[in-house]
C-alpha cells in the first residue's frame, strides 16, 4: 500500500463564479481539498447530494466549463507530472491521456451513448487512436466485451436496443478498453436495481484487479462503498471532513458527521429508530463560517463557529477535520 500516489490533490478549490452587473459571486463548491489516490487502489468519495462530489471529480478530470472555474490548488496525475491540473493543461496533452491513461464513467452512464451511433462505432471513436489497427481492434473489443459478459453482436446495436444493465456494462467496457491507469467513476451504479448493481460492482472489481487500474469511485451509497472501496473520503459541503481505510470508517469513524452517516445505515436485526440530523446541508452561496458542519453538529463549541478545522492525521491513514475530535477545542 506504500506505492507512490497516482493522483495527488493539493488544496484544490473550484467555484461556480457568476458575474451579474459587475457583481461577482462565488459559490465555493470545492474548498481546500487534499488527498492522494495510490496505484491499484479504489478510493471512494462519499457525501450527500450537493456536497460537491461531482464538482470535485470534474475539476480533477479537467472537464469544467464556465460558470465552474478552478480557483486554486493542484490535482497532479503521475502520468502527467509536469501538469498542475488538467483544467490548465494544453488541449493536446489532455487529448493524449484521455482514455489511454484516464477514463471516466459518467453519472447516469446508461444514457451517455450516442443514440444514433452503433456501439462499435462509439468504441472506435473513443479508443481506436490509442490501440492498434482496425482489424486488431475489432478482436480486442470483442474479447474485452466478454469480460463484462456481452456478446460481440452488441457492437452492431444501437444503444436503444440494449437494456439499461447492458448499456451500463457497455460503458464499463468502454471505460476500461484501453486499460487506463486511472478511472473516475461518478455514481455508476446509482440508477440500477440492486441485483444488477451487485453484478456491475463485481465486474468493476474484477477488471480493476486484472488490469491494475486505480479507481476514484463516487457515490452517496455507503453500502456500495463498503463492498467496493479500499479507502474512503467523506465530503460535507464542499470540504473533505474525514478520510480512512473503508473498514475503519465503518467501524471507528471519528468525525461527528461521519458517525451520523454510519449510524443512519440500517442493520439487520436492529429495529431501533434511525435518527436524522437536524437542519439541512448549508447553501454554499452563503456557507456558515468556521466548520461548515457546526450548525448541525451536536459537539459544536465556540472555535467551530470561527475557524475552519484542518485535516489532521490522528492515526495511521486516518485524517479528520474536527476541532473537538482532534482536541484543539480545549
Amino acid at each position: 500500500m506504500s506505492a507512490a500516489p497516482i493522483l495527488q490533490v493539493r488544496n484544490l478549490r473550484a467555484a461556480f463564479r457568476t458575474h451579474h452587473f459587475g457583481v461577482r459571486r462565488d459559490v465555493p463548491a470545492v474548498d481546500d481539498i487534499s488527498f492522494d489516490v495510490r496505484a491499484n487502489e479504489i478510493y471512494g468519495l462519499a457525501g450527500e447530494s450537493s456536497s460537491g462530489k461531482t464538482t470535485l471529480i470534474k475539476t480533477i478530470a479537467g472537464v469544467i466549463k464556465p460558470p465552474l472555474e478552478l480557483v486554486g490548488g493542484s490535482a497532479r496525475f503521475a502520468f502527467l507530472p509536469d501538469c498542475e491540473s488538467l483544467a490548465q493543461a494544453s488541449p493536446a496533452a489532455v487529448a493524449a491521456i484521455r482514455w489511454s491513461k484516464l477514463a471516466y464513467i459518467m453519472q447516469g452512464s446508461m444514457n451517455v451513448l450516442n443514440p444514433v451511433r452503433r456501439i462499435g462505432k462509439t468504441f472506435e471513436d473513443f479508443a481506436l487512436r490509442h490501440i492498434g489497427s482496425a482489424g486488431d481492434f475489432q478482436q480486442r473489443v470483442e474479447a474485452h466485451l466478454q469480460r463484462v459478459r456481452l456478446e460481440p453482436s452488441v457492437l452492431r446495436s444501437y444503444p436503444h436496443e440494449l437494456s439499461g444493465g447492458m448499456r451500463q456494462r457497455v460503458t464499463i467496457a468502454l471505460a476500461t478498453i484501453c486499460a487506463p491507469d486511472f478511472i473516475i467513476a461518478d455514481e455508476p451504479t446509482t440508477a440500477l436495481d440492486v441485483i444488477v448493481q451487485k453484478d456491475v460492482l463485481a465486474m468493476m472489481r474484477d477488471i480493476q484487479g486484472a488490469m491494475g487500474a486505480s479507481i476514484l469511485f463516487v457515490t452517496h451509497d455507503m453500502g456500495v462503498h463498503a463492498a467496493l472501496t479500499d479507502r474512503l473520503g467523506i465530503m460535507y459541503a464542499g470540504r473533505l471532513v474525514e478520510e480512512a481505510p473503508t473498514d475503519v470508517i465503518f467501524r471507528g469513524a471519528l468525525h461527528p458527521y461521519t458517525r451520523h452517516l454510519i449510524a443512519s445505515l440500517p442493520r439487520i436485526g436492529d429495529r431501533s429508530e434511525r435518527k436524522s440530523l437536524t437542519g439541512v446541508p448549508p447553501n454554499l452561496a452563503n456557507a456558515p463560517p468556521g466548520c461548515r458542519f457546526h450548525p448541525r453538529c451536536p459537539l459544536a463549541v465556540d472555535i467551530c463557529r470561527v475557524q475552519a478545522p484542518a485535516m489532521t492525521e490522528l492515526a495511521t491513514q486516518h485524517r479528520v477535520a474536527c476541532h473537538v475530535v482532534t482536541g484543539e477545542a480545549a
Partner: protein
C-alpha cells in the same frame, strides 16, 4: 424487413388518403366558384357577332363535354377522377385549346429547377452554419452572422426581392431582371443556353436563399446548443473524441432528423411555385401560371396546379417517412 414493408405500406396508404381528400377539396372549392367556363367561352366567342341559337346550343354541348360538366353531379365527379388518374385536366380556358397538363409540364421544369436548387442550398448552408454557430458559441464571425440572420429574417420577402432587383438590375446592372432565359435563344442542352438560364435564375435564387437562410440557421443553432449539453456529447468530450468527429457524428447527426423533415416539407411545397418570386422576377414557372389562372378564372388550370401541388407535398412527406428509420434508428418501423 417484414416490419419495414408493413410500415411502408401503411405510409403509402396514408399518402393515397391524403391525396384523395386534398384533390376532393380542390374539386369542391373550384366548382363552388361562380365562374361558369362554358358560358364564359360562349360569350367570348359570340361577342363579335350573332350566332344561330342552334349553333350556340351545339357549342354548349361540346364545351360541356370538354370541361367535364356534362351529366349529373355524380357523373361529373366520376369522370373527373377518371381523367385525373390519366393526368388529363381538360383544356385550359385562358390558353384554349392547349391542355392544362401541357401548360403545367411546360412551367414545371422552371419551378423545379429554381426552387429545388435554392431550397437545397438554403437548407444545407443554413444548417451547416447554424450547427457551427451552436457548437463554437464564442466565434465572433458566427455571432455576427447570427445577428445578420436575425435582422434579415423579419424583412418581408418582396422587399428583399425588390432591393436585389434595384441593386443588380439598375445600380449595378450585371444580371438580367426578368424571364427564365434570353428570349431569342433556341432551347437545348448547350452551354450558351444553360448559362443564360443560370444567369436569369441568379437573382430569384439569391432572394430565396437570403430570406430562407435565417430560419434554418436559427433553428439549427438552437437545436445544436441544446444537443451539446446532452450527456453523450459531454461524454465524448471527456473521452477525448476528435472534435470534428464530435461535431459531425455526435452533434449534427442528432440534429439532422427534425431538420430533414422540414426540408421534405419545403421541397414538397415547391410544386405551388414561389408565387411572389416568379411574379417579381417574371419567371415562367408554376407560380406565375397559377396566379394568371386565378385572374383569368381558368379553373381547370387552377385545379390542375393544385392537384400537382397536393401530390407533390404528400410525396415529399412520404419519401421522408420512408427514409426516416434509416436516419434515426430509434424510430420504430412497426
Amino acid at each position: 424487413m417484414g416490419d419495414y414493408i408493413r410500415y411502408a405500406m401503411k405510409r403509402l396508404g396514408q399518402f393515397v388518403l391524403v391525396v384523395f381528400i386534398g384533390v376532393n377539396l380542390a374539386y369542391v372549392i373550384t366548382h363552388a366558384t361562380p365562374i361558369d367556363p362554358v358560358e364564359q367561352s360562349i360569350s367570348a366567342s359570340t361577342s363579335f357577332g350573332n350566332a344561330a341559337p342552334e349553333a350556340i346550343a351545339e357549342m354548349r354541348r361540346s364545351l360541356e363535354e370538354l370541361y367535364g360538366l356534362k351529366g349529373s353531379w355524380s357523373e361529373q365527379y366520376l369522370a373527373f377522377w377518371s381523367r385525373v388518374i390519366r393526368g388529363d385536366f381538360g383544356p385550359s380556358m385562358s390558353a384554349f385549346p392547349t391542355p392544362v397538363s401541357s401548360l403545367i409540364a411546360r412551367a414545371m421544369p422552371w419551378t423545379i429547377g429554381l426552387l429545388v436548387t435554392s431550397t437545397i442550398i438554403t437548407w444545407a448552408l443554413g444548417n451547416y452554419l447554424g450547427a457551427l454557430a451552436g457548437y463554437h458559441q464564442r466565434s465572433r464571425a458566427l455571432k455576427a452572422f447570427g445577428l445578420a440572420a436575425m435582422g434579415l429574417h423579419p424583412v418581408p420577402y418582396y422587399i428583399v426581392a425588390l432591393v436585389l432587383l434595384i441593386v443588380f438590375g439598375y445600380v449595378w446592372p450585371i444580371l438580367p431582371i426578368s424571364g427564365g432565359a434570353a428570349m431569342n435563344m433556341p432551347q437545348g442542352w448547350n452551354w450558351p443556353y444553360v448559362a443564360s438560364v443560370l444567369k436569369h435564375s441568379a437573382l430569384p435564387a439569391l432572394s430565396l436563399i437570403l430570406i430562407g437562410l435565417g430560419s434554418w440557421f436559427l433553428g439549427m443553432r438552437s437545436l445544436v446548443s441544446n444537443i451539446i449539453t446532452d450527456d453523450h456529447v459531454v461524454y465524448a468530450e471527456i473521452g477525448g473524441v476528435d472534435r470534428r468527429r464530435i461535431l459531425r457524428s455526435y452533434v449534427m447527426r442528432n440534429a439532422l432528423a427534425p431538420q430533414l423533415t422540414g426540408l421534405a416539407m419545403s421541397l414538397g411545397g415547391i410544386f405551388n411555385g414561389a408565387v411572389i418570386t416568379e411574379k417579381v422576377f417574371g419567371y415562367p414557372g408554376v407560380g406565375t401560371l397559377l396566379v394568371d389562372a386565378v385572374y383569368a378564372g381558368d379553373y381547370g388550370l387552377v385545379l390542375g396546379v393544385t392537384t400537382v401541388s397536393i401530390v407533390g407535398v404528400s410525396l415529399g412527406v412520404l419519401i421522408i417517412d420512408l427514409i426516416y428509420p434509416l436516419i434515426d434508428p430509434r424510430v420504430q418501423v412497426d
